[in-house]
Amino acid sequence: MKKIALLILGLGFLTACEKALIDKNPQNDPQSNFDVLWETVRDKYSFFELKNINWDSVRTHYDPMVNANTTDEELFAILDSMLFDLRDGHVNLISPFNISRNWQWYLGFPVNFNYNVVERNYLGAGHRIAGGIKYTIIDSVGYMYYGSFSNGFSEKNLKAVLDYFKDTKGVIVDVRDNGGGSLNNAFVLAQTFVTETKNSLITFEKTGPGPTDFGQGLSYNFGPSPLGNYKGEVIVLTNRSCYSATNTFVAILSNYNNVRIVGDQTGGGGGIPIDQELPNGWRYRFSATASFTPDGYNIELGIPPDIPVNNNPTTNAQGVDQILQRALNLLR
């Protein structure tokens, strides 16, 4: 029985060694940090195929730049350049001294929006504000500017806007320079301006490390909000700085016959980003889903307008917003 007693004693106290069972942690050195980032993006990023990116070739290019003597600044620059090749505004590397980003989705295109011009010449000093929405009526046309889907609004806010717009000839929903925010706010606002229920968006999540390992799509059906909806014609104003949740908002509305999109193509950002971290504590995020309109268009590429219009910088500086002016002319 002494053997049994010793066995029980051993089981009780020697099994407490999970360090031997849990996989070893990666080292916090430049090569290990590089490897973790490259491998995680390889396994979970969602747009390699769409953007025709050969991630193995990217590694071949950048891996030789990393060695044991690579400083943090140098490593950040290498990882920044590697992530830049994804051509994705939802990709960031966050260190204590810098945040990498690719903002080419709007930097290389016309600005097409100046809030000062809109505020001074169209919204006017007496415009109303409901939550994050600024709104007024211009020549019997409702105009609302919503600058960020991170700025919330309540049901009462939306109802107030709808009530104010009820006798208008149409509504202009200006989301230019809206870089995104809450997807839920985008869904709620979209339901305020649609007049029929239909499937408007399909989202796929990655389910494995292969570039085409996506699960079953989730279809989103959007119809008029039970809180009330605008029943007339709607024009959405866009520019290249419409990104992420704003891009999704425009993609949803692009499916409806009562909605037209005027301005420039949106910036894209159709993948929902997830956060990860490196062994050295730097965080990074990247797109990990893919969303499509029902006709199979990948919204990562941005939503083209129904009526393309660019602002002329000269006339815009004189107080004329040609995109907004075009929308007013269409609805008057």
Binding site: L9, F13, K19, D23, P273, N280, G281
Partner: protein
């Protein structure tokens, strides 16, 4: 210190035995304790996180000449920090976790004041972590609702004129229904993204628990518990968790 501890435990194991079984009747424990947990979860980080947690526990058990029926309920909460480069990584998780284990065991063997039980185990684990610096992936969880086998040994003994009892239990779940984040996100369509059954190969768990019980009177005991639990699930995002629990409980007979 370690040698003294082992020597003390050996003294308990080899001291004068008592022929009577350890418990007889219905009991309800209530205890407070401390836990230290290490988790390595591919959905959370490439490195493991560890931290100190406070715990509270209760439950119910009854024992008669042949059967031991034991239900343990445990809740714990605290913070966990990265094990690699913690001074350079400000991230942390806030943990809310629970355990609900039940086993029904039959006395299969009795010799030299030792009583051995074997039975079926329901081993249920739920760990929820809020990741401070994450946004779309801030929720991290690990639910495993398992079934397996349980082996228990008891040895009543007397020491310094007082009545004590040692109980050792080894739980070995063989399969589970799991709830985990999906490959990239915790939730899909407002539901937990990854759910399903897993068995040995993809899943492994071990629960080792040692109780030292001190009988105060016919209705009250004090219990000191050390428990070690290890779980591993290798589905989509591999997760490995090791938890040490140390607690003191009172047992009320009713």
């Amino acid at each position: 210190m370690g040698k003294r501890l082992v020597a003390g435990l050996c003294a308990i194991l080899f001291c004068t035995g008592i022929k009577a079984q350890l418990f007889d009747g219905h009991y309800m424990p209530f205890g407070l304790g401390y836990a230290y947990q290490t988790v390595k979860d591919a959905a959370l980080s490439p490195v493991s996180y560890s931290g100190n947690l406070g715990s509270i526990q209760s439950g119910y058990f009854d024992q008669n000449e042949k059967w031991l029926s034991q239900f343990d309920l445990l809740g714990f909460s605290g913070f966990q920090y990265p094990d690699v480069n913690p001074e350079g990584n400000d991230n942390q998780t806030t943990v809310f976790a629970g355990r609900a284990h039940y086993h029904l065991s039959y006395k299969v063997f009795e010799k030299s004041n030792w009583f051995f039980f074997a039975g079926l185990l329901s081993h249920n684990v739920w760990d929820y972590r809020q990741v401070r610096l994450y946004n779309n992936s801030e929720a991290n969880f690990n639910g495993m609702f398992s079934a397996g086998v349980q082996l228990t040994a008891q040895r009543p003994f007397s020491l310094f004129g007082e009545q004590f009892g040692l109980q050792y239990g080894l739980g070995l779940p063989v399969g589970c229904y799991y709830m985990r984040p999906g490959y990239i996100k915790p939730f899909f369509a407002d539901e937990i993204a990854s759910k399903g059954f897993a068995f040995w190969g993809d899943y492994f768990a071990l629960d080792s628990r040692t109780d030292i019980n001190w009988k105060l009177n016919d209705h009250n005991w004090l219990r000191l518990t050390y428990q070690w639990e290890y779980t591993r699930l290798d589905v989509l995002n591999k997760v490995q968790t090791g938890t040490h629990f140390l607690s003191a409980s009172t047992l009320f007979k009713f």
